[in-house]
Symmetry: C2
């Protein structure tokens, strides 16, 4: 199963909106077939592994990181393929909450007399597809907030100067984070101030993920009620698609037209209490479009709004060993007055990245 | 030598203003004597180790973490004691820059025909006595700045509410940091806002350091030009001594008298450019009083001034996994406008302390 998970990880940058899935076929103690899901519309992991195993799949044990599908999607059901191949035993890391599967894959196998076992290495298998599982189960994507800051929690000087707080290793790591994300959300303030492209530069991706596959550029989403983004902004003109999100009350058609002409899609969602596009509505829209993993890369205003709206699943903090001073920009505009309101987190992963440190934090269960 | 260093560490909370020194006597492969320096006025490490070794010191090898002294201080010279004991070989971790020793200890041994070797485990030996070595070599103490902050670099809410940003393990660690410090510097703002005692609570000290010895409470130093500290403040009335530092221009005798009556010592030093007691002058004063290790525990104003004055040797940052928001108090008031002015640091030590993280950083050689 550990090998199947490694195989699944090869789809980190290419499988979405489908889940990343790996599969290993073992016959008489030998690995006779390995497969993983490359990208939507192509063969599933099980089918690839069975193809490699050929006749040796008969009587074999199959290890697969996600419950085999039971429905006809763009490809025929994998559970049926396993039955047809005559395997004896199927070990699954975690169930597929997709309503079209949801236990029916395992049921189909068992009905055919195949022994099944579920829950092996379930935690890493779920982490690999957190976005897919969340979207299938509840309709929302998995949301990561990324911030690069100093020890004193600052992201840029007051002038906006910020190159570079963190070092090249941290910036490459952010490329990998972008590449696994179906969409990147930013705010119009960041677009106006920094004109970022928010695209993935394939040359900066390391392992895991197969670099021979064409890269999926994440959908770039700009929360921009007043449509201040210029049609020539890099976020619009860069490779991949750009979605500019306004609200019905704020949208001015005269500003929307040049953006659309420039290649951006302009949509409206419900406003939040401040008249900004409501984050929950934006995330719902993205889930409906098949986005599993959302990355928020934004300035203090949107980062603060995301923390306040409690939509963050993981906070990725790249921390540089430097002090930028008390005039510099805060990481999140968040107006708290009492310690009881603090946003406590739990450290989920902590590692050194070049001269910097990367923390992955999750909001504490007790919250704030 | 590693054992000698462990022995030396037992004097972490008691040896100052003397250095922490450990000594091991080895005869025919057996450890026959162990000693360490408990506190000023008592026997040095070598004498304690030789006493334990007795006649077996003759022909033995001696491992000592600091060059044996060659001068009559409060105790007779240890180098002579080693000669008298008839040892064959003396291995030293690092030299003693004390002008009264400075190589003369080793010279005395060599003149008596004893083989010497210096520089074994020199780095940890120097780190253990960084303050003593600095003071002997250059007249200034070793300065640590301690800050407990959130991920967004905040130490308290705007109201001053700050209990507790970091957890109990981090707070115990601060007790150990205080206990090894000869003096703790704070500002009048912190005294007025929080009324801290800045004393060491012996019950909270873990290893290393011998807890059977009476604890040396650090000298508490309040930078308070206008003498706003109340005579009844805990920093004045708590166990141990309190030094209130003003400037000649700012000192009002009518305010100094009640402080002195309350048990504090009131002194003046030269002002800095803003009329505050100049930190370099304060540190010079403390070195002259035999203070090796100085800890700055203060609010954003003094922390910023210390960073600006470039007097910090180590920055101890206790970081809690929480976000206090952009209204909360910054860790250091520091007015920087360009990235080129940033205070870059190098991570010297990084460890998990309960739910928090402790970073020990040193200003980067390139500085800022």
């Amino acid at each position: 199963m550990a090998l199947a998970l490694q195989l699944a990880e090869r789809g980190l940058y290419s499988a979405h909106p489908n889940p990343r899935v790996g599969c290993v076929v073992v016959s008489e103690g030998d690995i006779v077939g390995c497969g993983w899901h490359h990208r939507a519309g192509e063969a599933h992991a099980e089918v690839n592994a069975l193809a490699e195993a050929g006749a040796r799949a008969r009587g074999a044990s199959v290890y697969v990181t996600l419950e085999p599908c039971s429905h006809h999607g763009r490809t025929p059901p994998c559970a049926q393929a396993l039955v047809d191949a005559g395997v004896e035993r199927v070990v699954v890391a975690t169930g597929d909450p997709n309503p079209a599967v949801a236990g029916q894959g395992l049921a189909l196998l068992e009905a055919a007399g195949i022994e099944t076992l579920s829950g092996v290495l379930e935690e890493p298998a779920r982490a690999l597809n957190a976005g897919f599982l969340r979207r299938m189960a509840g309709g929302a994507p998995w949301v990561r907030l990324k911030v690069a800051a100093s020890l004193d929690g600052r992201t840029a000087m007051a002038s906006g100067e910020s190159q570079w707080v963190t070092g090249p290793d941290a910036r490459s790591d952010v490329q990998r984070l972008r590449a696994r994300s179906g969409a990147i959300i930013t705010g119009s303030g960041t677009v106006l101030a920094d004109d970022p492209s928010l695209t993935v530069r394939p040359g900066e991706l390391g392992d895991p993920g197969d670099k021979t596959l064409p890269l999926q550029q994440p959908l770039r989403v700009v929360l921009d009620p007043r449509l201040l983004t210029a049609p020539g902004a890099r976020v619009v003109t860069g490779e991949g698609q750009c979605l500019v999100v306004s609200t019905a009350a704020a949208l001015e058609e005269s500003r929307a037209r040049p953006l659309r002409d420039g290649g951006a899609e302009v949509v409206t969602v419900d406003p939040d209490g401040c008249g900004r596009p409501a984050l929950a509505a934006v995330l719902g829209l993205l889930a409906a479009r098949g986005i599993n993993d959302v990355l928020i890369e934004a300035g203090a205003t949107l980062a603060g709004a995301a923390l306040e709206a409690d939509v963050i699943d993981e906070f990725w903090l790249y921390q540089a060993p430097t002090i930028l001073g008390s005039r510099a920009k805060p990481m999140a505009e968040l107006a708290l007055d009492r310690m009881a309101q603090q946003h406590r987190m739990e450290v989920w992963d902590r590692r050194v990245v070049g001269a910097d440190q990367r923390l992955i934090l999750k909001p504490a269960a007790s919250g704030h």
